[in-house]
Symmetry: C2
Subunit: 213 residues, 2 copies
């Protein structure tokens, strides 16, 4: 039985290595050539795997890139193999919960600011955002694969704060997520001004406290 | 004196007609062919004016398109001729002020929702948004010509509410504008969900009242 498990563990390890190589290659290539010129062939060549290895796990280049984003964002490449495409890593990921919703939101939003200010992430995310804006099918894929799981993570933390009495019981958590994160995204995408921790902190404080006196 | 004023008024009227024709042509063409293929030649041909007429008033196709957006948004083509490029119409425009900031914000945001749901506006604005996202120079032009004047209009209304004691005295008005409008823009640009008056109303109410209990 031990003999049977060892090779299987070796396969899983190799799968995880390949998977991580594919996602890293996709992320880097998207930054270099843009989404339109990104190809499964190019990703396979850079990752040093066969095209069939990629097609076994992902249906399209968009699906690969979304998982690459999930890996970059959550720091996890998924559980390797299996084709669930990073779903597990999001299931396991969570926003920090120190019991102080304001402090935790600032921690997370500061990390988002740092990500958007990272040139490598900036180019890749900008390429993807542009494609999403004019390709309705890709937008649907993005909504399902990347936006929804990330949104669920955020809502889970907000729900815990709601249950702890730190947020209004009747707060619409989708509206809350949008209020907090959309201004960051617009300021970044339209380059409307510097994206700083100070700005993120002001967003969190104003969204939590409201605009009224 | 009357004889001298009549031809001059005629010229002004013709200028205004040409100006409106150019802006309408730019707006429609952008929706049809996208920003990248939009050209001064194409706009001139559709508007029935010479290229020189356009260059007399605007330095670039981006500048024409921004004024076309201002006309669409404020309903004013500017004061005709003169080359100020629609600046006057924004100066004169104002957000509604009935004395009730919540009701007035809803009125304005409902109008924004209706605009974004208008297929003609959707295509043109999407073309422009995409170009802004990957062209830093155009982003700077957008920030100066379209975003800043529109933002000033919004801040003026918020400042009046602040002075009337309806908004916090220490509220950062730029943060407030972002909290209110950015979620609409992101939901539209990334097609994250239906853009409805109900959603806009929830945004206004949550931004004003805050997320806390």
């Amino acid at each position: 039985m031990t003999d049977q498990r060892r090779p299987s563990a070796g396969v899983a390890r190799r799968s995880e290595t390949s998977r991580r190589a594919v996602l890293t290659a996709a992320f880097e290539l998207a930054a270099e050539v843009g989404y339109a010129k990104l190809s499964i062939e190019g990703i396979a060549a850079r990752a040093g795997v066969g095209k069939q290895t990629i097609y076994r796990w992902w249906p399209s280049k968009g699906a690969v890139l979304f998982d690459a984003f999930l890996m970059f964002t959550t720091g996890e490449p998924g559980e390797g193999g299996g084709g669930e495409g990073g779903g597990e890593s999001v299931e396991e990921a969570a926003l920090p919960d120190t019991g102080d919703i304001e402090a935790d939101l600032k921690t997370v939003m500061f990390a988002t600011v740092d990500e958007l200010n990272d040139p490598r992430y900036d180019r890749t995310m900008r390429a993807l955002s542009i494609e999403i804006a004019h390709d309705a099918d890709l937008a649907a894929l993005y909504a399902e694969r990347l936006n929804r799981p990330m949104r669920e993570l955020k809502k889970r933390r907000l729900r815990a704060a709601q249950e702890a009495g730190q947020l209004a019981a009747d707060l619409d958590l989708d509206v809350a997520v949008d209020l907090l994160w959309s201004p960051l995204l617009v300021r970044w995408l339209h380059r409307e001004g510097p994206l700083t921790h100070e700005y993120a902190a002001a967003l969190v404080e104003t969204a939590l406290g409201g605009m009224r006196p």
